[in-house]
Amino acid sequence: MKNRSYKAEKVIELLGKKLNRQIVGSLAACVHCGMCTEMCHYVLTNPDDPTYAPAYKGDQLRKIFKRHYDWTGRVFPWWVKAKSVYTDEDLEALKDTVFGKCTNCRRCTINCPMGVDLASFNRMARGLLVSVGIMPEGVAVVSKDQWEIGNQMGVLKEDYLDTLEWMEEELQDELEDETVKIPVDKMNCDVVYSINPREVKYDPRTIADAAKIFHFAGENWTMPSEGWDMTNFGLFSGDDDLGGSVGRRLYEKVEELRGKKLVISECGHGYRSTRCEAPNWGKLDVPFEMESSVITMLRYIKEGKIKVDKTRNQEPVTFHDSCNNARSCGLFDEPRELLNLVVTDFREMYPNKAENYCCTGGGGAMSMTEYTPRRLKSAKIKADQLTATGAKIVVTSCHNCVDGLTDLIRHYKLDIKVAQLVNLTANALVIPEKISLPEEAAVKRIPEPSTDNVLAGKKILIADDEPDILTFFSTVLEDNGAEVITALNGKEAVELIRKEKPDLVTLDLNMPEMDGGKVFEILRKDPELADIPVCIITGRPELRRLIYDRPVKAPEGYLDKPVDEDTLIINIRKILEVKKHSSK
């Protein structure tokens, strides 16, 4: 009798407790017909590697189930390929499959004649491993942040509230109207609006765009001060306890505010988790209506609450369906209806809707940097799909997809931008006459870098070994009023930062003499420099570990190259603004 490790013993024991009719059906029904293989983006980009086949991946858990919980495995183990796990290394191998070779996109289920839902038991296998502490490091970080801070990105309450206040001020300036508000914890509202922490950390423009739409629709709305994260890493990690408690925090806050409806901003897994899954994970009754913001925006237009002018969005646009929205929740007609109302040139992507390919960033893949090369290789399918549309903008109603698509667009050097419906709808919004703004102001987007000295008085050091990047960033920042200092390598950057004490540093990671990670650690460990905000700007996301593995406070900002002018200015301003608020 082989000895079994404690963790392996626990995984087998917990598997028995997790089995239900749906899981057993999927584990027992596979006849290995191979119909699933042609549906998986991993298989299509790795045709010579059978370990990516959905049936093979399913077998890694199926063999344990057969060995311990199915009579066929007990009687004919050699025939049904029943096999147990014994060591922690066996569990690590299972981790590599369930986290690193599947994004739980569920596309393989479409073709399965037996109704096997691989994603359901792949998620369950993830949960078994997580419960004994075996998971990719990124999964651990994100899960811990959501358990303890209450959101996936560890955004502290004060930073969240500062960002809302900042966006409110921006909107008031843009619209020259101090009545425009982003209300927080207002009681008895018709709409409570919940968002993805990515919006706070990397894309606050989406919050401002949504606020603008709510304002002109005359909505009685609010955002919650707590429990505001509608994303749910429990869906990705397989941890039902996390999934249930995250949902509960949000539902309880809506009830506390006596909100009539919860509107969920554009996020595929957030929508699926909050609206469909979390009530089951948490065994909760939810006494109010829940709705995707896509449907809310569409309703406002149909009911005449807002007016839009589609000619303001004339670039060719295609739509990428989030797997969680489309395949798991059936939300695919409404975004197209809305798109056709706010853009002039919508081009369908094929295949689409429930048959669409994953962005390859789903299932928490963006947090698992060790699997980035696999992910980007498998993204060739999506890159080809995007290219075939001829579109210049790909729209998606999912923040994970925004990141996944942005990454693959950069990797495959496609000339396509990523946007969300809220951005295009806000841009098409016709400001009512009573505001009496000139047309130009009505379509103005934040920021307006070419006309405002928004960075006046700020000293910014740019560290990057690419002269073209230095020139581009310097020009953009100087045009916006900043005093710019440049450094071509890490060593020079440290010397100049010590001498000049800039208000902010932008830091490339891959630099000669001293890499950006080392520079970052030196800054953070020097009491005189530790509080200088740092924005990492890198073309190699796999190097993120150079930063996040260091035992120092995380950087204030992070951008992937290429960075356009608007994104650079928005993020630099946000970092400086949050710094200003937090120093008050």
Binding site: S131, V132, D145, W147, V552
Partner: protein, 173 residues
């Protein structure tokens, strides 16, 4: 919201809030073996408290399960943090180890003349100790400890959300 029990002249209080951002004299952080602050509450401690806390821990090095070490709390509202390396992820003898970790935290608090110590629900959440097990062990251990002689005047159980609060609430009725 808060509930309290009087035990042998000591106060055992249950309340809800962000343990890293409250006016406690000291609080317990459920630490990792390498004493890296890391994500979650660790990130909140690092961001709100400043770099000095991790720097102090770096000088201590790695610790074993059930060990507890103390650091100052930097710019946080608390004065001290007790970094407790508790059991995690369904490891063997979880309840025994959890009890020992709590007692070690109390003893270290006494050694440092702390009068008030706040505990999170130890190991519940990310570290996967079932919340009912956590509540049972914490309440039994703390009640027994405070029933004896202790210079600590108040122990607080600081729940992060209603789910955690409700798990402890029956012990305060």
């Amino acid at each position: 919201m808060a509930d309290s029990l009087k035990i042998n002249g000591h106060l055992l209080t249950l309340l809800k809030g962000d343990i890293t951002d409250m006016e406690f004299e000291s609080f317990v952080f459920y630490a990792s073996h390498d004493l890296r602050l890391g994500a979650g509450f660790g990130n909140a401690i690092a961001v709100r408290g400043g770099q000095s806390i991790q720097a102090e821990l770096d000088k201590i090095g790695k610790k074993n399960t059930c060990d507890v070490v103390i650091s100052k709390a930097g710019k946080l509202k608390a004065k001290a943090i007790l970094h407790a390396v508790g059991p995690r992820f369904k490891e063997p003898d979880t309840e025994v180890k959890l009890e020992k970790t709590i007692i070690n935290a109390m003893k270290l608090g006494e050694d440092n003349n702390l009068k008030q110590i706040a505990f999170p629900p130890m190991g519940a959440g990310f570290y996967a100790i079932p919340l009912d097990t956590c509540a049972k062990v914490m309440m039994k251990t703390l009640k027994e400890y405070l029933g004896g002689e202790s210079s600590v005047q108040e122990v607080i159980i600081c729940a992060n959300d209603n789910r955690e609060y409700q798990a402890f609430k029956p012990y305060f009725l």
